[in-house]
């Protein structure tokens, strides 16, 4: 069983708002103080992939990243999670791709591998927040897609996904091959890689692919949307701080304020 997990590198989403700035020239965040990290849902997807592989004899995990040289870090990290293979696909002119174009290129890349039995992506990248890559990928490959999955299991030829539902959870069965978009859960908390695996990951190869290696449709590779302007909205509220000597005094002051609100 071949599991492909698609990984994206993003600006650290935990960067405190006061350090977050947009460069108006490029419409991109100023990455001066921020780290680039593996997207958190992608990391949940990677963890899910590795756990599943370890349960199934003979399964392999390919970590796939569409990104420039800097994003090798996420593939090294995937190797330290013990992914079997790492592939990076990139062209310099792909600077401004959107989720739909990325879905197309990833689909063609997976086809160049001879397909996959399971394709995992994060549900939504924490930078551009589209949530499109997984569903587009499935449509491009002509295979089923299950979104918001928090747990996966394989029963014979059936893939079982536990996913978020409108009011609770549901288990969806699909035949292989299929795409799953992964959300975080207590079952897929990313591991702390072993020191030995981190060391090994440094010497493993990262395969590189470019447009010429793939059968890409030039049309579908064009961004479907254009980002015209980015700005940080001003949402600051004037906060009234309560004063008091100790907890009980503050509590009593707050109780008084709350009673003044009409809601109680």
């Amino acid at each position: 069983m071949h599991i492909v997990v698609c990984l994206k590198q993003v600006l650290d989403p935990e960067l405190p708002p006061r350090y977050f700035k947009i460069d108006p020239e490029t419409n991109r965040p100023d990455d001066g103080v921020a780290d680039m990290v593996m997207d958190s849902y992608a990391e949940n997807a990677l963890e899910t992939a590795i756990q599943l592989r370890d349960k199934i004899g003979g399964a392999t995990v390919t970590a796939l990243c569409l990104g420039d040289e800097d994003s090798e870090d996420v593939l090294r990290r995937a190797l330290s999670f013990t992914a079997d293979r790492a592939v990076r696909v990139w062209e310099d002119e792909w600077e401004n791709l959107d989720g739909q174009a990325v879905g197309h290129i990833l689909a063609r890349t997976i086809q160049s591998f001879g397909g996959a039995d399971l394709v995992l992506t994060g549900y939504q990248a924490s930078d551009i927040e589209e949530g499109l890559v997984g569903p587009v990928l499935a449509e491009e490959l002509g295979i089923p897609c299950v979104t918001l999955a928090s747990e996966l299991a394989v029963e014979g030829s059936i893939l079982k996904a536990t996913c978020e539902a409108e009011n609770g959870y549901q288990v969806i069965d699909v035949p292989s091959p299929a795409v799953f978009t992964i959300v975080s859960s207590e079952k897929n908390v990313p591991r702390l890689p072993k020191v030995k695996d981190i060391r090994l990951s440094r010497s493993k190869p990262i395969e590189e692919l470019e447009a010429d290696d793939l059968e890409i449709d030039a049309e579908r590779c064009q961004p479907a949307v254009a980002l015209r302007k980015v700005y940080v909205p001003d949402r600051e509220v004037a906060c009234e701080f309560l004063v008091g000597e100790d907890g009980p005094e503050l509590a009593s002051g707050l109780a008084g304020k709350l009673m003044e609100l009409k809601v109680l």
Partner: protein, 330 residues
């Protein structure tokens, strides 16, 4: 000119509130683009829901009333909605980016060679071109997008719009669509449904919410919040950090990836105020923050702030409120 088609989710002839939001957004978009607003309703009850969609602002409504569409089934819904998009000759399809929208939007766009945008909260027209506004970078920024393809599928972020209002006097054509749907397309099947056991008020509907974060230090802290929420008649919520730690179930999570809430009063306890959390409380009326770090970003969103260790404040607050409100139970 751009004609807008709105997929309005219905159950037994009634429109969901997400559907009414999409109707409000879609009809104002159509007006700005000098186009027509149509709705598509699918499944049993579509006829009744079509009248509702017109009362809520659609100029005409398409119906696909097939028993195969009684339950949500992703492959059948994709076929039905993409056929309706085609047949209605609209250029923009609007859907709520809710649980179903997350399955459908990217795939519908791929099928129709359309551009797709999700989490849209607003639009504006500049020099004749529609710019769609959506939050990015965990709600730290807003981005304005234009469409590069002839058609577009637009997903509206739930709770970002005032739902359309009802007017009995509106009239419009109801057009039943004949679409060949076949069970053969079904590949994903629902094997099991696990409804979450809800005690008390649903977070989304609560008028008062007391939420706890990592600062509570453990699950015991939530007992204190529960006691306070009981006195206030509110619900308990949490940050992702508290849910990830396993202190409370994920159904408690408020934020971008949890519940989007709009209570009259939101009390954030031991929550730093990450943008992804604040994204879930954009429309909360009064926000109170209790945090021992006066620099915590939550104080930039809060109307009332208390800088203190929560343990020194919450039990005393519960007691003080009990006394003032004359509550003697709990």
């Amino acid at each position: 000119m751009a004609n807008v088609l709105i997929y309005a989710n219905q159950q037994g002839g009634n429109l969901s509130s997400n559907a009414r939001e999409a109707l409000a957004f879609g009809s104002s978009l159509a007006r700005s683009a000098n186009g027509e607003t149509a709705a598509v309703l699918i499944g049993p009850g579509a006829g009744t829901a079509a009248k509702e969609a017109i009362a809520f602002g659609a100029e005409k409504a398409y119906t696909i009333d097939s028993p195969l569409l009684a339950q949500y089934q992703v492959e059948l819904y994709l076929d039905a909605i993409s056929e309706a998009f085609e047949k209605s000759q609209s250029t923009i399809l609007v859907l709520p980016f809710d649980r179903k929208g997350k399955d459908l939007i990217g795939r519908l766009a791929t099928r129709s060679s359309a551009s797709a945008l999700t989490e849209v909260i607003d639009f504006k027209v500049e020099e004749g071109t529609v710019h769609y506004v959506r939050p990015i970078y965990g709600d730290k920024a807003y981005g304005e997008y234009t469409i590069n393809r002839k058609k577009a599928v637009i997903g509206i972020r739930p709770k970002s719009h005032e739902p359309a209002s009802r007017d009995e006097n509106r009239t419009g054509d109801i057009i039943p669509l004949k679409i060949d749907l076949s069970e053969e397309v079904i590949v994903s099947t629902l094997a099991e449904k696990i409804e979450s056991a809800l005690s008390g008020v649903r977070l989304e509907d609560a008028r008062i919410i007391v939420s706890g974060g990592r600062g509570l230090g453990g699950p015991e802290g939530f007992d204190e919040l529960e006691a306070l929420a009981n006195v206030l008649g509110g619900a308990v919520g949490a940050s992702r950090a508290a849910c990830d730690a396993g202190w409370v179930p994920t159904s408690f999570q408020v934020g971008q990836t949890g519940a989007v809430v709009a209570p009259d009063l939101y009390i954030a306890v031991g929550i730093s105020g990450a943008s992804q959390h604040l994204s879930g409380i954009t429309n909360a009326k009064t926000v109170v923050a209790i945090n021992h770090d006066s620099e915590a970003p939550i104080f930039k969103r809060a109307n009332l702030g208390v800088v203190a260790d929560y343990m020194s404040v919450i039990p005393a607050l519960t007691k003080a409120l009990k006394k003032r409100m004359g509550v003697n139970t709990g």
